[in-house]
Subunit: 137 residues, 2 copies
């Protein structure tokens, strides 16, 4: 099996959320607005995104535990352990975060204010995709 070449950090999150114990588990659960700050190297790839658009942001959840294969759903110890691939836990072999957000404003083509992002401050961004109707992704 071939190896996967290194991921490129294309930007990072600026958020008031800094403590994973206090952060909402999903963006729809009271997450604040936050900034996505992209590197100038990807400016051209961003150029057709507009205020009001919904998009999917993929992040690298750098504070997750990659060895965990089973978790109590929603960190509730009264719930039975479950395989992480049946949960949205950040803990998993490749802790990639999948976030559906709406663009509130864009500054200088590289700073995107977005609604409902539960990712922590300084989380690296690795990809952006458009939403495909109800069946994304």
């Amino acid at each position: 099996m071939k190896e996967i070449p290194p991921l490129e950090v294309i930007g990072h999150v600026e958020s008031s959320l800094t403590d994973k114990e206090l952060a909402p588990k999903q963006g729809s659960e009271g997450a604040p607005d936050a900034w996505l700050v992209f590197r100038p190297s990807v400016r051209e790839a961003l150029s057709d995104l507009k205020k009001g658009d919904e998009m999917i942001v993929l992040t690298w959840l750098d504070r997750a535990d990659r060895e965990t294969l089973r978790v109590h759903p929603r960190d509730d110890p009264s719930r039975a352990l479950m395989g992480v691939f049946s949960t949205r836990s950040a803990h998993r072999p490749n802790p990639i975060g999948l976030h559906r957000v709406r663009i509130v404003s864009i500054v200088d083509g590289l700073r995107f204010r977005v609604r409902n992002l539960e990712a922590l401050d300084k989380t690296p961004i690795i990809d952006v995709k458009p939403v495909l109707g109800d069946r994304d992704g």
Copy 2:
């Protein structure tokens, strides 16, 4: 900015699709059934997935071009160039594929037959997530 540690290949796709020029662009566009073949190391993470479940599979699109920042949507040269983050093109700095599939059958806890997967044969798998209603991603 800190570096991202290497991605772990957790499995690979077995599909009749081997030519990216001939493959459907989205799973809903006539993609065939395919197998997801996982490594034994992630068996516990898979253990709560069941036949009939929908799930999101993330792959590493190893035949994509990571330098491309603008494309003609759907490879149609009559359409204007667009930033890749406004498209589902495989070409992008981190070519992560996002696929919504349904489990048709499971063999030995590690081989998953799934419906509607447009990924090419031998594509590495990097993550699996449950669908969260209509707003997943």
